[in-house]
């Protein structure tokens, strides 16, 4: 661990978070539905989902700005739901940063320490340490309005970690930054989290953000957690259609299960039969799911199944060419690597989609 960080006491021992049977209502609206979640100490954890899925609601519940109808939120084994926000010691970085415009950067960062009635010398030391950590000590006497978006974001982070919170909550911290800054800041956040060894929850609707910096992700939809796992697990082994669709592009084909005994097959609507590999889980009403880069067009490799279709559109993406292929009434996407001199298929022509049964999944909604 970084000598400066340990020296200032900013790093503490990481706490675990356990969420048990949480139900939350806005009036009659059931916003969080029986949420259970375990976040390990020191983990960089993401809440990922579309807007309105309940991810920010859960974050605000942990911080104390929402009230659950039932359930528990335990930090280091202690239920905090009865504790007011100002007694929780949970650091939150707001989406808008919420920097107070009437206070300088230094005063903003000192605020939480002053509320804790620390001696002046200690406050000054911790403020400087926090500002050093985000590299903004030279701007300590500016007002928030005089800072760029990225700098404001760093002040918001410094203000939060200065109080040595038990856990760190980040509510869409990158959403107010431009694309270039986002990449830089998310690396900085990851770096900082690693140095402080602080259990951190990161709320986002952007799968790329979650994939690049988080250890594990909980995918939310409609007030429920759909799946929890590492980015790779979620991409490779989604457990339902929502997760498959939300992380990356997924092709979905309707059909029905046929065959008998060990030799089950999936009869695709519009033609083609895919043998279901042994051991593959096939839910009732399951649909065939595969990623565009796992399929081929034209000559199929050995062991691949051929699904007859017609090319309906073509997009040149640089490294790949993405074809839209109509199979029955559905359309699937197939990515082909592009290299110079490659001959492209024209729209309107018939083409078979080649698919390895091993790279296919069967998922239900």
């Amino acid at each position: 661990m970084d000598a400066m960080v340990t020296g200032t006491g900013l790093a503490g021992s990481a706490k675990e978070i356990n969420i048990r049977d949480v139900d939350l209502f806005y009036g009659d609206l059931h916003v969080l539905k029986n949420v259970n979640l375990d976040i390990r100490p020191g983990e960089f954890f993401a809440f990922l989902g579309p807007s309105g899925c309940g991810k920010t609601t859960l974050l605000r519940l942990i911080a104390g700005f929402n009230t659950a109808r039932n359930g528990q939120v335990m930090i280091a084994g202690k239920d905090v739901l009865g504790t007011p926000p100002w007694k929780r010691d949970i650091g939150m970085v707001f989406q808008s940063y919420a920097l107070w415009p009437h206070l300088t950067v230094r005063k903003n960062v000192a605020f939480g320490l002053e509320e804790r009635r620390l001696p002046r010398a200690e406050i000054d030391r911790d403020v400087n340490a926090a500002l050093d950590l985000v590299g903004l000590r030279h701007l300590a006497d500016r007002r928030p309005a005089q800072l760029s978006g990225g700098q404001q974001q760093r002040v918001a982070v410094a203000r939060t970690i200065a109080i040595e919170p038990k856990v760190l909550l980040l509510d869409e911290p990158l959403s107010n930054l431009d694309a270039k800054m986002r990449v830089q800041v998310r690396r900085e956040l990851r770096d900082l989290q690693q140095r402080l060894h602080l259990t951190t929850i990161f709320v986002t609707h952007d799968q790329e953000e979650a994939n690049t910096i988080c250890d594990r992700i909980a995918v939310f939809n409609d007030g429920q957690i759909q799946q929890v796992g590492t980015p790779m697990e979620l991409y490779e082994k989604p457990t339902n259609l929502f997760v498959a669709n939300f992380l990356g592009t997924a092709n979905i084909l309707n059909g029905k299960i046929g065959g008998a005994g060990a030799a089950k097959t999936f009869e695709v609507e519009g033609g083609g039969v895919v043998p279901i590999p042994e051991g593959a889980g096939v839910p009732a009403n399951g649909k065939l799911v595969f990623r565009p880069q796992y399929a081929t067009l034209g000559k199929a490799a050995e062991g691949a199944v051929r699904l007859p279709g017609t090319i309906v559109h073509r997009e040149f993406l640089g490294a790949t060419v993405r074809y839209g292929v109509k199979i029955g009434s559905s359309e699937v996407l197939v990515d082909q690597p592009f290299h110079s001199g490659a001959s492209l298929l024209e729209t309107g022509t018939a083409a078979d989609v080649g698919l390895q049964p091993a790279s296919a999944l069967w998922l239900a909604a």
Partner: protein, 569 residues
């Protein structure tokens, strides 16, 4: 044509029309604002006999006990009015913006009611309710054997003014509070702050610019007000002294002008303080999608206290209106908590004899409103849509009217136009048209803001589209800009109209004959004698109803306008 060349993307102007507009407006502002105000200032610095530049008048002023006392009385009364207005406004603003409070809208609306009645009208009713022998003191004396000097001397002025002007603080403070994003408060809670500490360290500082804007407005309004102290028979304040010097000693007495200059200086100073307070402090922090401060539920005990406080304040605030209403129906009301008996005779008398006042008011206020909207709309267009030379000057000149108290403008008109006579020998200053012009000038800054707002909401591309399809500048204005601005112009008109209808300071100086008088003047005359109080109160009620209707109408217009805007943009 340097302007057109330097920015080819900007409109190529039809110069003659715009130039003519600039000249006409400049003439109007020059003759009816700059020259009268300039004359007042010039006279204050001129030796009465020789006409040379001198500070002697100011030395005289500060060497006279009465004037020095008047000056400090005015400062004291204005300052205390701000204090009491704050005491009234703060609980209402905080309770309605930060707590789940049933009836918050009713409170906010009732909080505005005082503004739709000139303060001096309420003053008489307040005497009857809170005076030495008024309702409250009679009851206090009966039960507890003591009286409170609510209305004695300067107290009375402070009491009436703070009740009347506290909405300025309420409006500004509430807006500021509402514009604070809840994340500001949550971030503080997240870092360990709560309760009063949170309010003191985060919420109030963020609302401070709004509060200061409201407070400085109250200070200026009270400092400049003429009619309320006069009606309460308090003469040793600055504005009444200016009036009395000019009306009793005469137009040549320099003291009236010296006082005028001091009034202007104080106005400018207060506006400067407010501008300093606001500079670089646009603390409006509401984020897109975020609502203002989160509202907290009140506990049962807290609710009882909160509702008690609010009811008390509202009762106090509405007492002038209640008193006025009682008075307008009272036969005799003296030395008793309530009137002896009730009658509608006063209304009969008012409608019979005094319908002239109502008619005059409608004419004057309508004309003033029309002038304001025409001039304000033209200036707004010139500033926002053209690059013609001098457009900024027009804006500044029109806005500078804010710094000229009514009494000063009145004195300026008398001084400037009394020497000018019509062919039949009547002095120009004695014409009723002068009242209209004074009212128009006084209300112009507010109408101008309304016009700016209306024009800013219209996307320039709508005009460019019209020009692209072959419409000339003039046709574009007539067929596109004016129809789209109509709602805003109407709102501006109603604001000018309703405030001009109850203005007295300038009117008191300029009205020469009873037949030319508007309601405010009639009220003033009625209220001077005990026998006139009943009809006066009836006239006051009519004025209040008239202004209330206009205010409602303007709200309605603005709301409709906002709805229609979704389509216009």
């Amino acid at each position: 044509m340097a302007y057109a060349l330097s920015s080819p993307s900007q409109r190529v102007s039809s110069r003659p029309g715009q130039t003519a507009a600039v000249l006409v407006i400049a003439l109007f502002l020059g003759v009816f604002l700059i020259v009268p105000a300039g004359t007042v200032i010039y006279t204050a610095f001129t030796d009465k006999g020789t006409g040379t530049f001198t500070f002697v008048n100011f030395f005289d002023f500060f060497g006279t006990d009465l004037f020095v006392r008047s000056f400090w009385n005015s400062v004291y009364v204005s300052g205390m009015s701000v204090v009491w207005a704050t005491v009234l406004a703060l609980p209402l603003a905080v309770l309605t913006t930060r707590f789940e409070f049933r009836g918050a809208i009713v409170i906010q609306t009732l909080g505005f009611v005082p503004l739709i009645m000139p303060p001096f009208v309420g003053a008489v009713a307040m005497q009857l309710l809170f005076g030495r022998n008024g309702t409250v003191n009679l009851l206090l004396n009966d039960r507890f054997g003591f009286k409170l000097p609510f209305m004695d001397g300067l107290n009375g002025v402070i009491f009436v003014q703070s009740l009347h002007y506290f909405p300025f603080i309420l409006i500004n403070l509430s807006t500021s509070l509402r514009n604070i994003d809840r994340s500001m408060e949550e971030a503080a809670q997240n870092l360990g702050a709560s309760g009063f500490r949170l309010f003191r360290r985060i919420v109030f500082p963020l609302a401070m610019p709004g509060y200061l804007a409201g407070a400085s407005l109250v200070f200026v309004k009270v400092f400049d007000d003429l009619a309320t102290p006069l009606l309460l028979n308090v003469k040793d304040m600055l504005a009444p002294q200016a009036y009395l010097r000019v009306t009793s000693v005469g137009l040549t007495d320099p003291m009236g002008y010296v006082i005028s200059v001091i009034l202007i200086a104080v106005s400018i100073f207060a506006m400067w303080v407010s501008a300093i307070a606001m500079r670089g402090k646009d603390y409006s922090t509401v984020q897109r999608g975020g609502g203002g401060l989160s509202r907290r539920q009140l506990g049962t005990g807290e609710s009882v206290v909160a509702y008690g406080v609010v009811m008390l304040i509202l009762l106090l605030v509405l007492s002038p209106h209640i008193g006025l209403l009682l008075l307008s129906f009272a036969t005799v009301w003296s030395f008793s908590p309530l009137p002896d008996a009730f009658t509608v005779a006063h209304y009969g008398r008012v409608f019979g004899e005094s319908s002239l006042y109502i008619k005059n008011t409608l004419i004057y206020a309508s004309l003033a409103g029309l002038i304001d909207v025409a001039v304000g709309g033209a200036i707004a267009y010139l500033v926002l849509r053209t690059r013609i030379v001098g457009r900024r000057w027009l804006d500044w000149a029109a806005t500078s009217a804010l710094a000229i108290p009514g009494v000063v403008l009145g004195i300026g008109y008398l001084r400037t136009f009394y020497g000018v006579t019509l062919p039949d020998g009547t002095p120009l200053a004695a014409l009723w048209v002068m009242v209209v012009l004074a009212l128009a000038i006084r209300r112009l800054p507010y109408a101008l803001r309304a016009c700016y707002a209306a024009l800013q909401q219209i996307s320039e591309s709508l005009e460019e589209a019209a020009e692209n399809l072959g419409a000339t500048k003039f046709h574009t204005v007539r067929r596109i800009v004016l129809p789209l601005m109509m709602g805003g112009l109407l709102a501006g008109f109603v604001t000018s109209f309703s405030t001009a209808a109850v203005e007295l300071s300038a009117t008191l100086m300029l009205i020469q004959s009873n037949s030319d008088a508007p309601i405010a003047y009639g009220l003033y005359v009625f209220m001077q004698s005990p026998a006139g109080r009943g009809p006066g109160a009836a006239l006051g009620v009519i004025a209040v109803v008239m202004v209330a209707l206009c205010t409602l109408l303007s709200h309605y217009v603005i709301e409709r306008r906002q709805k229609a805007n979704g389509m216009a943009k």
